[in-house]
Subunit: 182 residues, 2 copies
């Protein structure tokens, strides 16, 4: 497996603004290179995640995809794809197979209404439990399992802000190297 | 550790309706017994999660807590508490200690504005990476690590609907035992 790209299908600007932002931030924190989204155009979604990346480092980006179908169909020529869905097979049954592919991986998360065709187009339909929960939790736990917890070691170059983990309070480092405790 | 209760602090009915529902559903799917929330009263949040539980089984419930401070203070007399925050210590540094306590565990997740006092009141401030992402992903990955992936084996008694995991399409079982494929 090479790079990981998350594709959030069917974004609804009015209903999902914060949820799609959370999907993007989870994608970034748990090791994806970028998030693409279809559905409503939403420059504010892109800007809000860009602001996080600019402060917290790394090269994560968000991009809009106008039509999901030609995009996913074309993707099959160069990469593999997995849809996260409660109807899919247990992640542990396929995670080795997914890890061992030597191409980029598209991880698709939908909202409530996912077109039926997507189940046929992807290489794997994978479940993070067969219970209803959230595209945010499904994505994070999937990437955590897929990358064997590597999110805890991940570096984000050129960060302006960093955190010093502590049991109480907040310790923040700014890029001028002053340690700000509170 | 006995039971796990999730406490979602500072729910905002207008801004967070779907996010708080996703926190509750992740809590349920990943092994918590109930979710409490403070902030805005929101009967619809309670009803929407009750509908899920009634269809998908188990005894998960959502309850409103009027004032977080007396609640968290009183909790200390009978149980342990952990706040999930990007400023906290790495979950792997304390997960054994948390697991080995023989009392109920309160898992606190906040929104963007968490009162400072909470950092002092809880037993552990724990991070799921020191990067910004989402209370939904932080909660799910924390419970996944804490319970060693037990969410994949968890049973939900008295479900009206269940899923037969499959690589393509959707296989749903209703409580009258008819297998509905599509």
């Amino acid at each position: 497996m090479k790079g990981i790209i998350v594709f959030r299908m069917g974004h609804r600007k009015r209903r999902d603004p914060r949820l799609s932002t959370h999907v993007a931030l989870a994608a970034r924190a748990f090791g994806a290179e970028k998030m693409l989204f279809s559905g409503d155009k939403d420059p504010e979604l892109i800007r809000s995640v860009d602001r996080v990346t600019s402060n917290w480092g790394g090269a994560f980006r968000v991009q809009y995809v106008k039509s999901w179908k030609p995009f996913v169909t074309n993707w099959k020529m160069s990469g593999k794809s997995v849809q996260l869905t409660m109807y899919g097979i247990n992640v542990y049954d396929v995670v080795e197979e997914i890890r061992s592919c030597d191409r980029d991986l598209l991880v698709i998360v939908g909202g409530q209404k996912v077109p039926r065709e997507i189940y046929e187009l992807v290489d794997w339909n994978v479940s993070i439990t067969s219970q209803p929960h959230s595209e945010v939790s499904a994505l994070a736990v999937f990437l955590h399992i897929l990358l064997s917890g590597d999110e805890f070691k991940k570096k984000f170059p050129d960060a302006r802000i960093g955190i010093v983990p502590c049991l109480r309070g907040k310790k923040v480092i700014r890029s001028n190297s002053s340690l700000l405790s509170s």
